[in-house]
Amino acid sequence: MPSSDPLPPKESALFRKLLKCYEMKQYKNGLKLAKQILSNPKYAEHGETLAMKGLTLNGLGRRDEAYKYVRLGLRKDLRSHVCWHVYGLLQRSDKKYDEAIKCYRNALKWEKDNLQILKDLSLLQIQMRDLEGYKETRHHLFTLRPSQHASWIGFAMSYHLIGDLEMANSILETFSQSQASIETHDYRHSELLLYQNQILIEAGNLQRALDHLHQYESQIVDKLAVQESVGDLHIKLGQPALAVPIFEELIRRNPENTLYYSQYFAAREFTEPADKLAAFKQFEEIYPRAMCPKRLPLDVASGDAFRAALDSYLRRGLRKGVPPLFVNVRVLHRNHEKAAIIEELALQYYENLTRSGHFSREDADANLPVEPASALVWTALFLAQHYDYKRDTEHALEYVNAAIEHTPTLIELFMTKGRIYKHAGDPVEAYMWMDEAQSMDTADRYINSKCAKYMLRANLVKEAEEICSKFTREGVTAMENLNEMQCMWFQTECALAYQRMGLWGDSLKKCHEVDRHFSEIIEDQFDFHTYCMRKMTLRAYIGLLRLEDVLRRHPFYFKAAKCAIEVYIRLYDKPLKSEETIEEIDSENLPPSELKKLRSKQRKAKKKAELESAQAAQAQVKREQHQKSKQQANQEADPEAPQLDELIPEKLERPDDPLDKAIEFLKPLQQLAKDRIETHLLAFEIYCRKNKILLMLQSIRRAIAIDATHSSIHACIARFAQALSKLTANGELNVSVQTVIDKATKELIGTKSVQQLNDEFVAQKSDSIMHLYEGARIMYELDPNKRNEAIKLITSFDINKVKLEEATKIFEALRSGAFGECTAELRQYRTTCQQRFKYARVFKDIADTESNAAANDVNHVDEKSKPNAISADEKTADL
């Protein structure tokens, strides 16, 4: 590398050694070499050496010094590409990719054909999805090194990503033609061909794709991919007959792939259920052990054909004792006719198994051998799950208890019993049964996790952590380990539990932890930019890039973000007092004796705080030691990873601007989860508080586009109208905004007043409790005198048509004073709900809850000990 500030030969040799040491990660030696050069007074301010010294320090984890020296070096030699490159590398290691890109660009100004810098730049550009820039850099690299494979591939890929599929294809075409000899079983070449094929398919050149596959079939080692693609292409090209043998062969290869069956039907051009059922029957005969030909007909069949298929499917499962049998048929319940048949058959099994040990009377009459003794308990479990699905708690409990009586050692029964209570609205009883299940097999992580989740639903965070610790690494707390393992379901459930308990800071901490996992996953793709190119796993690489682009679409992110947004909105509506003001007590107006007490209390508190801080300091030291030992353990374990701010609940729950924080969580949802109505309802809540009239309007319109009948939209419109009239009255809208708003309001509201709008809404939606609820709230807000009417509107609704979640929402609204003071109505509604949902904890009287909990404990003991009751008469011989 020619330098702008050249060193004499001796120092120059040292500098080259220094570079080598850095590459070899011999940072200590590197520092010595840098010192040697810099100790020569003539070169004490040599820019490139200073910069390299900084980079070497960074390798040792001395970040602050690193920045100091690199910047110093750069200042001494602004025209050195080395200094700029080094600065770029430093920023990159700090994950400041935007800054790093700028540095590389500056470096290229002074050394425009430097391969290393160009390669590094291209990595950053793809990471940041600067696709235009990536294409340019790749083109530059290609012109510099046209003989290298990687140049061609990267060049083609840059066009693929930008959407110029034709160009991408022709680059790859030229490249593969230029390749002289191809070894047999060349995996990389094979992948390249399939990648090119993928481009052809994406470009819609199906015939060319098919020809391409046929032409190169012998060179492609992933035979399965070829078969799948060829079959699919034949169907899409209108040659279904050619696809039939292909999918027959694929089904033979793997009879459990549901996709093959649907493509087989497409190839056979089957539309009639009867044809499909006949085909399934054939496959079942050919592959008697396969599950698909047994299960899939249940989706297709109806009436008697369904009954027959289901009968044999259920019998097989109950005979064998297939634990997820119910889950396998749960989706069929959406069809009422099928749900009824399921219930009928299961009841018939139960009755006959109890009587004669057969699934049906016909079997008994035919003197067939009896079913296994376990069939009865599995049938009872199935029925319990079935009734639980229907939210028929009484029947569900009846069957699960009968099952427990029959086989008290079957763990699934206790899990189901817990789940029934969960659905019935009693998370405490639910977790106790799940805990019981967990205790029966403590080596089963699935049940362990379930138990932890149920505990979190009952707001028992500590207990949940303790349960999890049976499976987490020793030496660190379960909470830390679960965070390290990116165990998001746990963290999200924690966040929701804290939210329910009003521990806003703790809740936010968990939400932010989840958010950071997503950032980290995006971060992690960096290594794959080089790895996948080298290994030529290009199809998988493109898949990865596309996944990362929409990563936060994942339901895990949605859940955490929703929680965070709700908490931030809550903190905006009712900000917490600062920590000091809580402490401060009006000491002036206290009588001396009280003051004395207070002082001694404060002293004690102070002592305690000091003790705690000392302990915390100790813990800190320990943690640091732990960190150090960890670093020593794996010395090269990325000392470059930037330190993130520690998440402190007390700080998190006192944000400067909660709504801006909420928007940070909202943005990815608006971009990636725009098909979920909740996204826009949450957006409305935020913008409404920010008084952003246009954004409110936008949220409403997007929500309407998804589901115009959603019960919450009406309230949004009403609030929008109110906000609008306030703004108009104050004359705060500028003319162009006013024009847009006027046009939109005409569509949304017309000329009606909010009052009219609401009256109409309530009249129209008298058959939907959630709509009435929204209407009633607006009614009360518009005119507090209509309180009684509003409350009556919702409390007089037929409670048998109300779901538990809906009743809970209404009850909470009444309790929180959304309809003003209404003790009597609240008590009345609670009683109504108690009768309808007798297990739901939320409707139990507060005073009763505690004693109930105690009583429940007793019940537990009772129930568990019931079977031990000594009644020798009832029992027959034990064998």
């Binding site: 005979r319 064998k320 004792g321 051998p369 009896v370 079913e371 296994p372 003794a373 376990s374 009865l376 308990v377 029959h406 086989t407 008290p408 050692t409 079957l410 205790s439 029966m440 097999d441 403590t442 080596a443 089963d444 568990k864 000990s865 079977p867 031990n868 000594i870 009644s871 020798a872 029992k875 027959t876 011989a877 034990d878 064998l879």
Partner: protein, 187 residues
């Protein structure tokens, strides 16, 4: 009968709760913690029985060296009522018998059974057990409180012992389940 699968499995700290549940249901007395701690150390002498992958029975034994003999004592052997008459008890007993025969150093296998437990008595007689003694007031909190000692001799040399004990046979008509080890029940 439709094909079903009967297998033996170890008792471990992870699944011991299942054994406890089973015992509380099958036997009219409850066993103390010590019993379960010992069971964990018992190796082949304590086994769970799985019927189609569900725990439905268990057998727990210990080696008894009193009376100058080395005998195998069956503390508990029982099966859930819904799974009786399926050959599960036989599987458990056969396991214990195999163990004792393989060891080759046992004089006999013996156990206590409540005198009215006809089912159990018939079961053991099928395998060559004989009533060798009746212990009055053996059980504390259940009726009848008397127990038979059932014994199956393994060594020919000890035939005189069983002969001597056979004088104590009592005939009581009764029925119950399981046979019980008094020592455990006392706690």
């Amino acid at each position: 009968m439709t094909r079903s699968n009967i297998e033996l499995g170890d008792v471990t700290p992870h699944n011991i709760k299942q054994l406890k549940k089973l015992n509380t249901v099958v036997f009219p007395v409850s066993y103390n913690e010590k019993f379960y701690i010992d069971v964990l150390e018992a190796g082949e002498l304590a086994k769970l029985v799985y019927y189609n992958d569900i725990v439905v029975g268990a057998v727990c034994c210990r080696i008894d060296t009193s009376e100058n003999q080395r005998r195998l004592y069956i503390m508990t052997l029982g099966c859930l009522s819904s799974y009786r008459r399926l050959g599960i008890g036989t599987v458990m007993f056969q396991h214990i018998l195999n163990y004792a025969e393989k060891d080759g150093n046992f004089d006999s296998i013996f156990l206590h059974v409540q005198i009215n437990n006809e089912g159990a008595i018939a079961f053991y007689k099928k395998f060559g057990f004989e009533i060798v003694e009746t212990k009055e007031h053996y059980y504390k909190r259940i009726e009848p409180a008397d127990a038979y000692v059932l014994q199956k001799t393994l060594r020919n040399t000890n035939s005189n012992t069983s002969g001597a004990n056979s004088n104590h046979i009592h005939n009581h008509a009764a029925h119950s389940n399981g046979h019980l080890d008094k020592k455990e029940k006392k706690a």
